[in-house]
């Protein structure tokens, strides 16, 4: 393998790791803070509706974090014109979207 392209590929991989790590860290921190606040509110017994809302936000941020991680990977691969991996991550996004659609369908049935 060509030494120059090898270094370029490794540099791109390193940048992606940094971006992905940042997204995951931010998502985990935000959802953990929401879940902790929501939990303390609901255990204290006061502000039940606020507690429920904050807990729901925490759960949704948690569920959205891996989706956001795949999304930034797709964007990164597209910007680097790495079409095979841009396509693969796009397929994963479609699969995640399909699970949301399945959830909505099940939700209507029940």
């Amino acid at each position: 393998m060509n030494r120059a392209t090898d270094t370029a590929a490794e540099g791109a991989a390193r940048r992606l790791e940094t971006v992905v790590g940042g997204v995951l860290r931010a998502g985990v921190m935000l959802s953990s803070v929401c879940l902790a606040i929501g939990l303390l509110l609901s255990l204290s017994g006061s502000a039940a509706s606020a507690a429920a809302l904050v807990l729901q936000i925490g759960i949704l941020v948690l569920l959205a974090t891996p989706v956001a991680r795949v999304l930034v990977s797709t964007v990164q691969y597209i910007s680097e014109r790495d079409w095979p991996f841009a396509s693969l991550t796009l397929i994963v996004l479609v699969e995640l979207l399909a699970s949301v659609v399945a959830a909505l369908i099940f939700n209507k049935k029940l």
């Binding site: 393998m1 991989a13 390193r14 992606l16 790791e17 940094t18 992905v20 790590g21 940042g22 995951l24 860290r25 998502g27 985990v28 959802s31 953990s32 879940l35 902790a36 929501g38 939990l39 609901s42 255990l43 507690a51 429920a52 807990l55 729901q56 925490g58 759960i59 948690l62 569920l63 974090t65 891996p66 989706v67 991680r69 795949v70 990977s73 991996f85 693969l88 991550t89 397929i91 994963v92 699969e95 995640l96 399909a98 699970s99 949301v100 399945a102 959830a103 909505l104 369908i105 099940f106 939700n107 029940l110």
Partner: protein
């Protein structure tokens, strides 16, 4: 749905801490311990136990991978390729769960995890490491610095179709039973595909977040995800996986393999006996 009291919250928090700690050490995600605890010990409906467990799997995957990012231990390209299979399997798991009897699945699960545990034990001294750091790892291979030996570990991915099939199956089981599926992927990637245990565990833990999300979203849509209980479990698992990561860096690969095999045998017996009922 169980009522959330301070004592129940504390029990789930502690269970989450233990599950998260073991999960981080083994690259399993922690769900394999939490589902039996919530279902068998606390008596939650299986769907609720699975849903809560899946949210902790997502949290573990995200926090563990965030901490590991930048160390080249996670094989991102391989992970993203295999995610296509795990997410597909996870989606299909939501549908097949309605058609296959729970007992049949549990027995199958028990047999399979015992086989994987035996594979781990027979290959305990194999490392699949190419010591020459100048070798070409290929598009899907990897290279990382190992603190234990102080050297650079380089590997190529072998038998990719096996990894894809195992990932699809792991995704399927994940969605059906509320676990991460790492206990299927890690031994297969390590034993058959030439990936060192540390890299296999890191890559599996990375993928598990996406796999569990595809399943958890469906449970959430079903209304089977009690937010307060999930919050308690998630926070406990976060604490446990943080502690497990610190300890995990000093644990040897051989110990990880033995520990993982023992865990798999226990799960096997539990699942099989439950399936017989």
């Amino acid at each position: 749905m169980p009522v959330v009291t301070a004592s129940l919250a504390l029990i789930i928090f502690l269970a989450g801490t233990v599950a998260g700690g073991l999960g981080a050490l083994l690259g399993l995600g922690g769900g394999v311990f939490l589902v039996p605890f919530l279902n068998l010990v606390l008596g939650f409906p299986f769907g609720v136990a699975a849903a809560i467990s899946l949210t902790t799997v997502i949290a573990t995957s995200s926090s563990v991978s965030a901490a590991r990012a930048g160390k080249q231990l996670i094989n991102m390209k391989l992970g993203m390729l295999l995610e296509v299979a795990t997410a597909g399997g996870s989606l299909l798991g939501g549908v097949t769960a309605q058609m296959i009897a729970q007992g049949t699945l549990q027995k199958l699960f028990g047999i399979l995890s015992a086989i994987v545990a035996m594979i781990m034990l027979t290959r305990i001294t194999r490392r699949n490491v190419i010591l020459d750091p100048n070798i070409d790892p290929g598009v899907l291979g990897g290279r990382y610095h190992e603190d234990e030996s102080g050297g650079t570990v380089t590997y190529r991915v072998r038998r990719l179709p096996v990894a894809i099939v195992a990932s699809f199956f792991a995704g399927n089981v994940s969605s059906l039973l509320g676990i991460g599926g790492g206990f299927i992927k890690v031994p297969v990637l390590n034993a058959w595909c030439g990936i060192p245990l540390r890299a296999a565990a890191a890559t599996s833990a990375f993928m598990i977040g996406v796999t569990a999300t595809a399943g958890a979203v469906i449970y959430y849509g079903h209304g089977q995800l009690p937010a307060a209980l999930a919050a308690t479990a998630v926070l406990g698992v976060q604490l446990g996986s943080w502690a497990g990561m610190r300890f995990g860096a000093s644990a040897s690969v051989k110990w990880l393999k033995i520990l993982m095999a023992a865990v798999l045998f226990i799960i096997s017996v539990m699942m099989f006996s439950r399936g017989l009922r």
